[in-house]
């Protein structure tokens, strides 16, 4: 990839990108603290979108319950690092007199593993069937997880129901506590910005991992399955296992992001994991370019910063035109997301920044043979 003659992979390119990522929040901070927060969420969404892209973009499996894995990760950390469990289970309180405070670096592998486990559990029965079924089953799974989160406060109060779990520990890495501003030789970095740095770093690492995966044997197998499952099978790809791997890896990304989300917010409730969230992440990758890592990152950043723009632009604009707020910003955002999904698929089906098409000239017309 090249920008203005500088290769992104070169030392100069990396240095420039790092500088941009480091000073971005300082610049955004001038516009308001909300923007720094939006940037942190953008980085989190980049991770989520990259995870979903493995499933939908690389392997071509439509997963509509992706946010369920995010929820699994978030609740894992929430339960392991908040007073909720010790408050409700005296035996646990007895075993951990100081309270449960599992550090994030220990919770992340657990949350990721659990999410991957759920992914395999869910994928195993349906992956050998047609893709449409997978879409519905994952959709249902996303709802089921929410029903359980909402109702598992009885008979044993495991999830605290619709009230959610509060007082979750922040990210602590050794002496560094991300809940307090950091003073670096007089330059005070606020908490939100620290989280942004952590998330941005992880997002970059995820992007690198995705790019490496894409070029690997597995990545090529995923794309072969996406293009033509029968042909892939004939070429010796173990279709079911490779699909399961895509599903589990995508879920892993969801689980990790979920843990980070719980630590960042300090509070989780079932409301954060609605179907709409799954669809927002899907919109990101569809808008950016299914299966193309830079496109997906672009889509995630655009759509996660978009509500912030809308908040600043839509209200005043409506005031000026109609004299009052006719459409709520949140509603307007969903309206535009729906339109975006529709318009992108109809007009630019390969996204804003599509993947380069290999062998496009030999692709026959699809859908002719039945």
């Amino acid at each position: 990839m090249k920008f203005a003659g500088i290769r992104l992979g070169s030392p100069l390119g990396i240095a420039l990108l790092a500088l941009a990522l480091i000073f971005l929040p300082t610049v955004a901070g001038l516009l308001g603290a909300a923007w720094v927060r939006a940037l942190a969420f953008a980085a989190l969404y980049v991770m989520l979108a990259l995870g979903l892209n493995i499933v939908v973009g690389f392997a071509g499996l439509l997963d509509l319950g992706f946010i369920a894995f995010y929820a699994v990760g978030a609740y894992t950390f929430a339960l392991l690092a908040s007073p909720h469990l010790t408050d409700n289970f005296p035996a646990l309180a007895h075993a951990f007199p100081g309270g449960l405070h599992v550090p994030i670096w220990a919770a992340i592998p657990l949350g990721a593993g659990l999410a991957a486990g759920f992914g395999v559990l869910l994928g195993a029965p349906v992956l050998k069937l047609r893709g449409d079924y997978l879409a519905i089953v994952t959709l249902g799974f996303g709802e089921i997880i929410r029903i359980f989160l909402n109702n598992l406060n009885f008979p044993a109060n495991l999830t605290n129901g619709p009230q959610g779990i509060a007082l979750i520990d922040p990210v602590r890495l050794g002496p560094l506590n991300l809940a307090h501003p950091l003073d670096v030789f007089g330059w005070v970095i606020p908490q939100v910005q620290l989280y942004y740095y952590l998330f941005a770093l992880l997002a970059v690492l995820s992007a690198i991992a995705c790019l490496r995966l894409q070029d690997s044997r597995i990545g090529r197998a995923w794309m072969a399955i996406r293009e033509d499952e029968t042909a892939a099978k004939a070429m010796g790809v173990h279709v079911r296992n490779v699909k399961l791997l895509a599903f589990a890896l995508g879920a892993t990304f969801g689980g990790i992001s979920g843990c980070l989300f719980a630590a960042f917010q300090g509070f989780v409730s079932p409301e954060s994991f609605s179907l709409m969230e799954s669809i927002i992440v899907l919109s990101m990758i569809v808008l950016g370019g299914l299966g193309h890592v830079p496109g997906v990152i672009l889509g995630a950043i655009l759509l996660s910063l978009f509500p912030e723009f809308l908040r600043h632009a839509a209200g005043p604009l409506q005031d000026r035109i109609f004299g009052r707020a006719v459409i709520d910003v949140e509603v307007l955002r969903m309206l535009l997301y729906g339109l975006a999904l529709l318009a992108v698929m109809l007009l630019r089906p390969r996204g804003l920044w599509p993947a380069p098409q290999h062998g496009a000239t030999v692709t026959p017309a699809r859908g002719v043979a039945r």
């Binding site: 069937l129 047609r130 079924y133 519905i136 008979p155 509603v331 729906g338 529709l342």
Partner: protein, 312 residues
């Protein structure tokens, strides 16, 4: 109330629920049979029907206060059916037809886009709040044997049975029905035989939408509530019903709907006792999902389906 009476009551509730699922499932299954597409927006068409009928009924109540309940119901249906058919035809024309030869993922994604669009538009037009549906038929409970029923619920069962009978006649006996079956079998050969596939597909969407409109009005009447999100869960369950009966199979959707309704009603009625009070009826929505997974694992072609699930 004895145990057997409770059982009968739950069976009746299951029949009501199942009739509604069957009506919606028919829309999924007919569309799937002909264009191999899961119409994700189908549940939202139902919602549009219910809310349109709400507006029409409110207007009718204001203009002709003397109109009886069943008259209002007719007014509601009369408004909902054409609206839903129109909405569905527009969806088909705009979101699905241009993508008929595109990769599988494309129409699924536009369908989700349409679904979001319909929901937000409904939210803008009718607001976010739950609207209380007017009581159309007399609400007094009637005892039929040991079971206690209402006129609305009886109307649901009777109306669905009539509609489904009519639909079977339409599919088996008319030339449109023959064209639909031929297109489902093989669209290209059907086209060679003089069937206009575009028209058949549009008619299929229109019929499905009309059924969804009826189901939407009846759902709202049974639960006395309507809101912009009401189409999602019934849509999901009706899809399950369609898969249960064998997707693409019209009698299958009817059977699947009724069976799913019975499973849900009995499951929700007895889960409390079976699990020793650990799980309550708030887990009702989980049953459909378990049924869906079980069917997909054990018998992907469904109860009545002969077509083996296409693995491509």
């Amino acid at each position: 109330m004895g145990t057997f009476d409770t059982f009968l009551q739950q069976v009746f509730n299951g029949l009501v629920l199942g009739s509604l699922y069957a009506l919606i499932a028919l829309g999924y299954t007919m569309v799937y049979g002909i264009v191999n597409l899961i119409n994700f927006a189908h549940g939202d068409v139902l919602m549009v029907g219910a809310l349109t009928a709400y507006t029409a009924i409110s207007a009718a109540q204001a203009h002709w206060p003397a109109l009886p309940g069943w008259g209002l119901l007719l007014v509601g249906m009369g408004a909902a059916i054409p609206t839903c058919v129109l909405v569905s035809l527009v969806i088909e024309r705009v979101a699905y037809r241009p993508l008929r030869n595109a990769p599988r993922l494309a129409p699924l994604i536009t369908a989700i886009g349409v679904s979001i669009l319909l929901q937000t538009l409904a939210m803008i037009i009718w607001g976010r709040n739950h609207l209380t549906y007017p009581q159309l038929l007399p609400p007094d409970p009637i005892s039929v044997g040991p079971a206690i029923v209402t006129w609305t619920k009886i109307a649901v069962v009777v109306l669905s049975a009539l509609i489904m009978g009519g639909l079977l006649l339409l599919v088996q006996r008319t030339s449109l029905g023959r064209a639909m079956r031929a297109t489902a079998e093989n669209p290209r050969v059907a086209a060679l035989m003089g069937v206009n596939p575009d028209r058949v597909i549009a008619s299929t969407f229109a019929i499905g939408a009309a059924l969804a409109a009826v189901a939407g009005v009846m759902t709202a009447a049974v639960y006395s509530v309507a809101h912009f999100y009401m189409g999602f869960i019934p849509g999901l369950k009706a899809f399950t019903a369609a898969v249960l009966g064998g997707i693409g199979n019209i009698p299958g959707a009817m059977v699947g709907g009724i069976v799913l309704g019975l499973i849900e009603a009995l499951g929700a009625g007895y889960i409390d006792q079976l699990s020793g009070g650990i799980f309550g009826s708030n887990y009702q929505d989980v049953f459909a999902f378990i049924v869906l997974c079980a069917v997909l694992i054990l018998r992907p072609s469904g109860l009545l389906g002969e077509r083996v699930a296409d693995r491509s």
